[in-house]
């Protein structure tokens, strides 16, 4: 914000310059010079009687001065004359909240955010909810679909507002698949000993010996981020972690949260956390967490900031609230996470899940071969030949070999078994998908690793900086 002296200087040259006057008014407000601020905004109104910004600011000043009734009347006038001015609706939401009228506050808040997502304020929304404004506005046309900051993008949605949006949330609407007792544990996950040990140290031991770890300033529970190339067992190891601690496992996919309606994604996320809290001890596993916890710098042209704020707010909930809830996030692009998520109390522990090691690959090979007409299989040999392959890549090897056998079977009209030779041939043809990931990861580890977050990637690649 420009300083008052320089703004006054500029206004001396151009005394009727509205943008300058508005800036000066705001500068006064920042300095708590309410009288001067009000005079400046009144001058704007004098020059342009309908100016919504100046009128809203005056209403705000009146509220500060304790003249609430007058403030609300003025604000209502602005709302009536300029229904598309989001700031006035947001201010009205705050006024309603100060009157402890959660429902009205929520209605005004939704209306403001429906007009302009930039004004969304997760903290305010939380307070509104606490005041009873739990349900999104049900007025027809509200909540409005999420508009991108690109007004064109918003226009595309406006055409087909969902007229059926009438019901608010309840738990039953969130289709969360959760496992009462995951059938996986570390014994059932072949290989990956390094990752398991890291999980034991960072998650399991602190949970089992809470007091001991607390004595050393280490905490139990909270958030842990698993990162690594796609298809390398992040979900499996998360499920096994839940199995190890006998916790319920909630596998949350992006599709279960994302919703085109303003506020609804946030509601869903909140409900998911609430369900997990009720079902504690539980493990909440968020796949593709980089979409939910995206760097806000990447959200210039897309909506979703409020969802990010909501996620942060859920992670930050009082320790007691999240007690017994372990939040695991999985991503193949940790660098796209907003740095706020990596702060203490959130995803403050990172675990690198590399491509499966030779034991894990052998295990995967055995699983893939199970129930298929494979003869002469040498899992150990094949596992050595598929170095750097992800689980999905190994599946592709089997698919290719099976297709070759199927072709022969179609010709001969009888079952032709898959041989080790065919599998080896397919292993040569399939290129490991993890290579592309490591190309990118290497760059992040080399150039954007000031805090040493990605040292494990460098170690894995055998790079000594």
């Amino acid at each position: 914000m420009a300083d008052i002296a320089s703004l006054k200087q500029a206004l001396a040259v151009s005394p009727d310059n509205l943008p300058l006057l508005l800036l000066l008014g705001k500068a006064y407000l920042e300095e708590f010079q309410f009288q001067d601020a009000r005079e400046t905004f009144e001058k704007v109104i004098e020059l342009e009687p309908g100016n919504p910004e100046a009128r809203t600011q005056v209403a705000q000043i009146l509220e500060v001065e304790g003249r609430s009734s007058e403030a609300i009347i003025r604000l209502e006038q602005v709302n009536a004359e300029h229904p598309g001015y989001a700031t006035a609706w947001m201010l009205r939401a705050k006024f309603a909240l100060s009157e402890n009228d959660g429902e009205s506050a929520r209605e005004c808040y939704d209306r403001a955010v429906g007009i302009d997502t930039e004004v969304a304020d997760a903290e305010l929304l939380k307070r509104i909810r606490e005041a009873g404004g739990n349900k999104p506005s049900q007025e027809k046309g509200h909540p409005t679909p999420m508009a991108s900051s690109d007004s064109r993008a918003g226009a595309f949605f406006d055409a087909d507002l969902n007229e059926d949006y009438e019901e608010s949330f309840d738990d039953d609407e969130i289709e969360i698949e959760f496992e009462e007792k995951p059938d996986a544990d570390f014994d059932r996950v072949g290989g990956m000993e390094g990752v398991k040990e890291e999980i034991r140290m960072k998650i399991l031991y602190p949970m089992e010996n809470k007091e001991l770890f607390e004595a050393y300033g280490k905490k139990a529970g909270g958030g842990v981020l698993l990162y690594g190339p796609p298809g390398c067992g992040k979900t499996l190891i998360s499920r096994a972690t839940a199995g190890e601690i006998n916790a319920k496992f909630f596998n949350i996919g992006l599709h279960q949260i994302l919703d085109m309606w303003i506020g609804k994604s946030e509601e869903k996320l909140h409900e998911i956390f609430e369900v997990a809290r009720r079902q504690a001890p539980s493990v909440l596993f968020f796949d593709e967490v980089d979409a939910l916890a995206a760097d806000r710098k990447d959200l210039r042209a897309s909506a979703g900031r409020t969802l990010i704020n909501q996620f942060l707010s859920e992670l930050d909930s009082e320790a007691a609230e999240n007690d017994g809830v372990l939040v695991l996030g999985a991503t193949n692009a940790p660098w796209h996470l907003d740095s706020a998520f990596l702060r203490p109390g959130r995803f403050d522990r990172l675990i690198f899940v590399p491509p499966p090691d030779v034991e894990a690959r052998e295990e995967i090979v055995k699983i893939m071969a199970d129930g298929k007409p494979v003869v002469g299989l040498d899992p150990a040999n094949l596992a050595k030949r598929v170095k750097d392959f992800s689980g999905a890549d190994i599946k592709a090897v089997f698919d290719q070999a099976i297709e070759a056998s199927l072709g022969e079977a179609m010709e001969s009209g009888k079952i032709v078994p898959v041989t080790q030779k065919q599998l080896v041939k397919a292993a040569k043809a399939v290129k490991p998908s993890t290579r592309k990931w490591f190309e990118s990861a290497r760059n992040y580890a080399l150039y954007a690793n000031q805090s040493g977050l990605y040292d494990e990637i460098l170690e894995y690649l055998g790079i000594n900086k």
Binding site: S148, L258, D259, M260, S265, D298, S302, A303, A448
Partner: protein
Amino acid sequence: MSELSHGILLQEQGKMEEAEACFRSVLAQEPENDFAYNRLALCLLDQEGKKTLALDSIGEAIRIQPEYPFHHAIKSLILASLRRGKDGLEASDVAIALDPEDSFSLATKANAYCAMNRWAEGEEWSRRALAADSDNSMAANLLTHTLRMQGKSDLNAIAVDQMLAANPESDIAHINAGWTALQRGDHRKAEEHFREALRLDPDCDHAREGLVESFRARSPLYRAYLSYCFFMQRFTGGKQWMIIIGIYLVYRFASKALQKVSPLLAGGLTFLWLALVMWVWLAPGIGNLLILLDRNARLALRSSERAQGIAIGGGLILGLIAIGFGFGFDLSPAILGGFGLLISTIPASLTFDNESLPGRIVFGSITAYIYLATIGTVVLEMMNQGKELHAAVMPLGTIGVLAAVICTWLGNVPALRRKKEI
């Protein structure tokens, strides 16, 4: 967050393939959504070998919403990236006609001029775009680029400072600042800026290339080569040829004149000329070899650049050692082998880091021929045991030398140096 919004997020995170899938899914449900087509086009534009598909996609967006200038502006960007600058200009003109004050459309016109190496017009239109919106980062980037290409160092320095002041967290601004520093000969400052650009966007290949260039520029000789490159960049292709031919004619004239005065001086001039010509071709490869010797800097090199460094730098050093050894101990196989290695460096400089597949095939074949001819010559000479040159040596050598000379001309054919944009 809708699927479209999710696609936009993925796009801004640089996950183009996933974003493309998202936009296609949106279009499957809303086949007349021109905004989704527009976003899909931008996604395709950022992917290797999908520019023509991007053009199709933006064509659909224009069909649905022909009055929207943004679609035409994106079309201009795509055409310029396909090296169809003239068509790009036309598309920009349509966008500007629809909204004369739209800064983005004005910037795409500047971009189209840049695609044709018409730097002065590029500068003019980027200034117009900035006049319409001083926060237009694309226009600011184009302005610094055009100023640098025209050698307007002072103006460029101001523009870069403004760009950095406006957004110190912009990788593009740091890349521009890096190139400006390199143009000034300040390779340390350039390295700082490129490192910062890579910190901000580690996947940015432009920043990595700049960093490699700043490492190479640690050598004064390489900086001299860079100055020559910056000088030549100011001109369009035709003028560049005129300058090269002009310098050659001056050399020929001076050489003839010196022959009459002092044959020794004329010989010296010829040596200098050949060294200069060789240096122009070999400088990047030798620069890469020097980078390879630095354990930290070498991490910035691509595998093709490493190979280039070894083939050229290694060929040059081994060649010179072999020639020196051969003359010292009167060993003709060593002398011939050394010359063979020296000659091989010319086609090798056009092989490893060449974007064009036909180029890699042509120059790679010539390099392979010279290696084989060199090995053959050395073996024949060793078998010859000090007698006169083997009958096969002369034709093998002559073909190799001629092929290397031809490479210096073929190396200027764009189709053999740049990848075909599709």
